[in-house]
Amino acid sequence: MGLTVISRSNPLSVASNQLRILGASGGHPRFEEKLAAAGLPPLHAAGITVFQINVGKLCNQTCHHCHVDAGPNRRESMSRETAEACLGALAQTDIPTVDITGGAPELNSNFRWLTEQAHALGRHVMDRCNLTVLLLAGQADLADFLARHRVEVIASLPYFRGAQTDAQRGDGVFDKSIEALRRLNALGYGKDGSGLLLNLVFNPVGAFLPPKQAAIEAQFKRELARRHGIAFNRLYTITNMPISRFLEFLLASGNYEGYMQRLANAFNPAAAENVMCRNTISIGWDGQLYDCDFNQMLELTTNHGAPVHVRDFDFAALARRRIVTGNHCYGCTAGAGSSCGGATL
């Protein structure tokens, strides 16, 4: 498995270096110009229905496409104090969904407390799970914990075959992921009538766009059932974002300009109107506020007069804030659109 960008002292570990690359003209218009040319105003939030908490960058995997640059050596991790501030902000609102991500969010010492508290507040909790974390020593009861709190599991699995999955996520990850999925299925996850939602995430294993969501979901359902007897609810296609380790791959493989051109050519105004940042607030491990997890990794905090830290959370102001955009936003507006909940069209 590869190392994180930051541990290799790669210049891409500095957000401003990534922004400089993304901001340079690559034969495509700036994202904001593309919006304007399509007759769309600058993006603004239209409420907040998802309270997404990134609890840190620690992960037991080092996937090649990771926009977080997460890995075993990362130490950024949300404290109890910040987790309490998140819960305090959440409690002031009626935001129905809490989406917990990382890194491997389950490795944060406050993950279970955060989940219990959000569940007690009557909110729907989602866990963005890399699957292999369920097999780690010390996490033997994790699947039971998730089921007990009716947590929706959003699990990464880029393909139904080992070669492709391991090429993106590391050697041996596919076999472990299948074992983890079997454990979840055994608890009722992904089974009709259980109410325990198990949704998979498909990321392309390379510099190309994802397939149509419905088509690849049908293929995954057929193949995972046939090959491994595994069931799941939905499959979400997510476009790889030209950030951090995926940006490094694009540059090193000579695919950067072609990929950005592909994203820009596939710009879809309807997808732009449905981007997830318009109904999401993203909170970083240190309590900073962002329009999305991608902006978070580029260190682009909320702006245009909106609060920038969870301790100053102001629902009314944030729910109508202007979104901070850049050329990486082409990743969410290409084709059928892309979001943490899959295609948006």
Partner: protein, 110 residues
């Protein structure tokens, strides 16, 4: 190095409409209809196109349909089999003409 084929020329395909707009538009509409989901899925049609691209040895088509196959969810194993199908048909087409050779030879020979 000068060559007849340039990858960036693929993006100029639509310039063929400048010579005859009506025919280009008819071709484009037909092309889009052919590759739309029908009795065959878009994924299956892209795999067929990839095989044909190799049979006609069109580098533009190979470039475009390799990407299309990946973007429709196919994997390299499936795509390799599609190329072998093209190869088998091309090779078989040569070999089956050996029957003509045998017919002629039988006629001419004592």
């Amino acid at each position: 190095m000068e060559t007849y084929y340039h990858p960036h020329d693929l993006a100029k395909f639509a310039e063929m409409g400048k010579g005859n707009k009506e025919l280009w538009e008819k071709f484009s509409a037909y092309y889009a209809a052919v590759f739309a989901e029908g009795a065959l899925t878009e994924r299956e049609k892209a795999l067929i196109a990839l095989g044909v691209a190799h049979a006609v040895q069109c580098p533009y088509c190979i470039d475009a349909y390799t990407q299309a196959c990946l973007e429709k969810g196919s994997n390299v194993e499936e795509m390799t089999e599609a190329v072998h199908v093209a190869c088998a048909i091309r090779g078989g087409a040569s070999l089956v003409h050996g029957v003509q050779m045998r017919n002629v030879a039988d006629k001419l020979s004592m």
